[in-house]
């Protein structure tokens, strides 16, 4: 394990040096559309106090932590730089964590705009705080009326429909995955980027990140690397001892002999799927993020109000901004 750490620090030393030269203290990032509404709150989603606790006070604490950690002049530069540099550095983990959380929260807030789809001022007012009884409330079905605040951009609309079947299905999947996060986390809409001769953007996915994870550098990568490290070391040890080597080979033979083995079926285990995912050269381009952390909704919606909060978030999504983030869609290869 120590060896792997040393390798990690060596490879990023040059980057560290370059960042150190342009050291600057971090401040709370500016979001133009949100900063205008600091005193009034985000219409239909956050009260002024709710916005304060969902963004300003939170961002301030992340920034304070960042500055505390970077006293030695290590971490200046943009949030993206810090994230990519310290992503695999266990020693400077808190730098990555705070930068990542700040980046994600900012990204999620940038997707939002005051709600325009509601007609009366009563609707715009925040819903009454949910109680324990609301946990048992059944779903409200309005199959006759279409869902409101759907994307208007044709390119985005078509892409979503191609990837998820329909906008309703997409909404259900996105909100359900956000709803299912128990701790801190974000639900993302991402475009898969396959690195071939030219970058290929074909499919959209809904993806969750937990705690301070990033769509491209999930917190699990560290654990996966650790697992891989232990696994290879185990294999090496096994092959060192001739007797153990023989036993190992025999075991493998036996395994291959089992015609009905679970491993031999076409069904992939989660670990196999993960290793395949890591092996392929692909990345995710984040398009939309929903903040599913309790910090985002506790003040205005209460402990049991996550469902109402998520519904309001859907109403607040600024689809024009989302559409502007889209990469050029690749044409599907016809075989």
């Amino acid at each position: 394990m120590l060896r792997s750490l040393q390798i990690g620090t060596k490879s990023s030393r040059s980057v560290l040096n370059s960042i150190a030269s342009q050291r600057s203290l971090h401040t709370v990032p500016k979001i133009e559309t949100i900063d205008e509404l600091k005193d009034t709150g985000l219409k239909g989603l956050y009260s002024a106090k709710g916005l304060e606790s969902a963004w300003y006070s939170r961002a301030q604490s992340y920034v304070n932590n960042l500055n505390k950690e970077s006293t030695d002049g290590v971490a200046g530069g943009s949030l993206e730089d810090i994230i990519s540099t310290f992503y695999k550095e266990p020693i400077k983990r808190s730098l990555y964590e705070n930068a990542s959380l700040l980046y994600n929260t900012k990204f999620a807030l940038e997707c939002l705009a005051p709600i325009n789809t509601f007609n009366s001022s009563e609707e715009v007012a925040l819903p009454p705080k949910a109680t324990v009884k609301d946990l048992l409330a059944g779903p409200v079905l309005n199959r006759n009326s279409a869902i409101s605040n759907v994307p208007t951009n044709n390119n985005l609309k078509d892409w979503l429909v191609d990837s998820f079947g329909s906008i309703v299905e997409f909404k259900t999947l996105l909100l359900n995955s956000a709803m299912a996060i128990k701790g801190d986390g974000f639900a993302w809409l991402v475009v898969e980027k396959l690195v071939r001769r030219a970058d290929v953007y074909e499919t959209m996915f809904v993806l969750n990140t937990y705690n301070c994870g990033q769509p491209n550098s999930n917190a699990s990568k560290y654990l996966d690397d650790l697992k891989l490290f232990h696994h290879t070391k185990e294999q090496e040890n096994k092959l060192k001892d001739p007797e153990a080597k023989l036993a190992y080979e025999e075991e493998q033979k036996k395994k291959n002999k089992l015609e009905y083995s679970f491993q031999n079926t076409l069904i992939e285990t989660v670990d196999e799927a993960k290793s395949i995912h890591h092996a392929t050269k692909r990345q995710f381009v984040p398009i939309l993020a929903i903040d599913a952390s309790p910090k985002a909704y506790l003040h205005d919606y209460g402990v049991f109000g996550k469902k109402q909060y998520l519904e309001r978030v859907w109403e607040s999504i600024d689809w024009d901004k989302i559409a502007a983030r889209l990469p050029q869609r690749s044409e599907k290869l016809q075989l």
Binding site: G138, N176, A180, Y210
Partner: protein
Amino acid sequence: MKFQTKALDVLETTSHFLKSGAVESTPAWYTVVGANPPFKNQIKVPTFNYQKVAKEQESFLDTDKESKAKKSTKRFQYNANTGFYKTRITKGNSVETDVYKPIKLKFLQDELRNLFYYQHPWELADGKILVEGNSVVDYEKLDWSSIIQLNKKLDGESVVQRTLYILKDNKKQVKQNPSIEKISLEKAYNQARFEYYQIKMAREAEVQVAQEEATFSGAVFKPSSIEVGFEKESQVLSKWKEDALAETKRIEALRSGNSAGPEAGESEGALDDVFDDIPEAQEESK
């Protein structure tokens, strides 16, 4: 053989024995059987199916001749020309025995349940607790204003009960305010069904995300019981295949009538194989 009822007299016999002293202490079941004596009359007395007959008699209340004629049954034949009923028993309309048959129980719940499980056969694969006890929940007594229940698992039964609730609730509302649209059975069923789908989807996401979230925090899950079972089963199957092949070879050899021993050339080769496995023999040959 005559109908045997002697065993049913166990209480009387034992009392007699106790009195006479043939049995010294009272058996443990004595008071219980005394409190709940066995039913001795084994002859089933047919009960007249009043409901069926009353339903047939409905045609008496009709004023319209045509509808009367339509509703006339074998037992009550209406003659449109004379305006009379023929109720006398003749060869043609002898009293049907089904009047004494028990009434067939018909419930809307059963039809809904059958429909749901016909449309969603895999829901039958969902596990269900069949143990009865003090905690048995009477589904009809629960509040079905929401399909989610605290002490009832979400399954096909929930859809059935929710459908009934929607119908009942709608009926009540229409009574209070006639301008409200009346909900048909189909619409109520569909509403309950779609609510069911919504919650199923949410719960599926919940399970997946919970596992993922735990994994990202370092949790390692053991192979599931299905995987373990699959692995065990495959071991048995592979062993069975090996044995079966060997057995088939043996049977085929017997059938071909080649029951003579191995030929000279073969036996030498076979012996070589045996010697290879014995270390002492290898040393000697060197």
